[in-house]
Amino acid sequence: MEMNDPLRREEKKETGPDRDDSGPSSPEPSRPGKDSLLKRMKKVDPKQSEKYKQRTGQ
């Protein structure tokens, strides 16, 4: 859970539009959470979008 690491958070804080920065840095190449995200995706109801009916907005 890299995002909860305060040091990482501090690093990220230095990259916004009104801060001293050199643009966004890519996340770590290794993805320890890849499997958990895949599990999350597999849990999605395949009919979810079919059931999702909205009314027209602006």
Binding site: G16, L37, K43, Y52, Q54, T56
Partner: protein, 486 residues
Amino acid sequence: MSVPLLGMETEYGIIREDMENSDPVEESMKLLQACERKSVSGKWAYSQENSHLDMRGFKVGSLAQDEEEDAFCAEDRKRPYSYLDMKCDRVLTNGARFYNDHTHPEYSTPECRSVLSLVAHDVAGERIVAECVALRNRELGGKPLQLFKNNTDYSGHSYGTHDNYLIPRETLFEDLVKGLTPFLVTRQLYAGAGKVGSESVGDFQGLQLAQRSDFIETVLSIETMTNRPLINTRDEPHAVSSRYRRLHLILGDANMSAYATALKVGSTSLVLNLIANGEKFPGLELADPVADVSKVSLDKTAALKRKANGTVTALEIQEAYLEAAEKAFAGKDRERDWILEEWKKTLDELRYSPEKLSDRIDWAIKEKLFTEFMQSEGIGWEDPMLKSLDLEYHNLDPDRGLYRGLEQEGDVYSLLSEEEIVRAVDSPPVGTRAQIRGQAVAQSAENIKRIHWTGVEFVNGEILDLTGVISSEEVEEVLNTCKQLV
């Protein structure tokens, strides 16, 4: 800067998963009623609204949204509450408006001075909406209510994410349209949230760049629910109208990536500044800009016909705007330098290594994520699962949303610190009139009779007119002279 204030309005998708036919009016009301945040409720000054004036110099009799409202009013006669009850207007301590608009909960950010501030307030809106979803689900038990920050139901119904820019009235509207149109057609290269399938091209299977591109039908229109335009012509500045216009852009997507929102709003703001400076882009005019919106969304390398002669790609158009912006604004201030650097980096990566965008541009994040999933499951874009995954990418639920999952795993770029988001949830942007509004809500909510973007009316009859309060100096003056009110 020629764009002193920025704002963003987001209509959220809403559904009850435990009901076959959930009533969006009912569910949106219950969501707003669940909100526990300090706010002024049901006091929005609708008398200050006028959405029928057109920037082209005329007034329209009625809009499609009026008919929609009328239909709801007719339906509401059967309901045990009034039209205003249904709207559930809330103004929060951060100066935002949170209410129900056309069957969708809508979060309108307070007016912001900087791009970073606007993005923080847009994300704050996600937090506040998600907080209300959790409160409502606690009442219901389980998690039957789900909300989505997206723009389509994949069946032809779209709802909006509108970016707003206060700009000088002296800029000719014709110059604005000519200068801005090619830019708007092509900014979806980085501002598109990505959509599986198409609602205008039936046999398209794959991921297109933007959710709203299927719904753009004309260059100019005052309408927002039908005949949706590249540039909305509603002339409602919520400011001194002889000095300002509010450019109300309804073609944009709801971005989950804060970086994409920053790039979208930042680049648009720079182009508006170029146009205000008298810059023209005659070589970029397109022969059929409306058709090109969908064309680019379906194929980012498509050749677009110029109005003069020859063709140009979306990327070449964006590069031309960037070059002009670099010449005019490089080295002026930190925010503009950040926008220019990131805009350039994004366009360079689009040209040479688009896979590098997959941690911060929504359509590219989806492309990588869904491609990996298709490979692991042995399915293709035509599988209905892909549209469901696409929808779930936008789910605000931290335990279900795919973008939320990517955030939790550190797989997407994080533009904002937690402190910046929390501050935007509670507090208004300093130095804007939203600071006055937010302060009034925080300190004198019980004394407010009516409230609007342009002012506050108190129960003692005093009126704080904010129509002309745009600069930070004007804000400070009001704060210093009206301490007893706010």
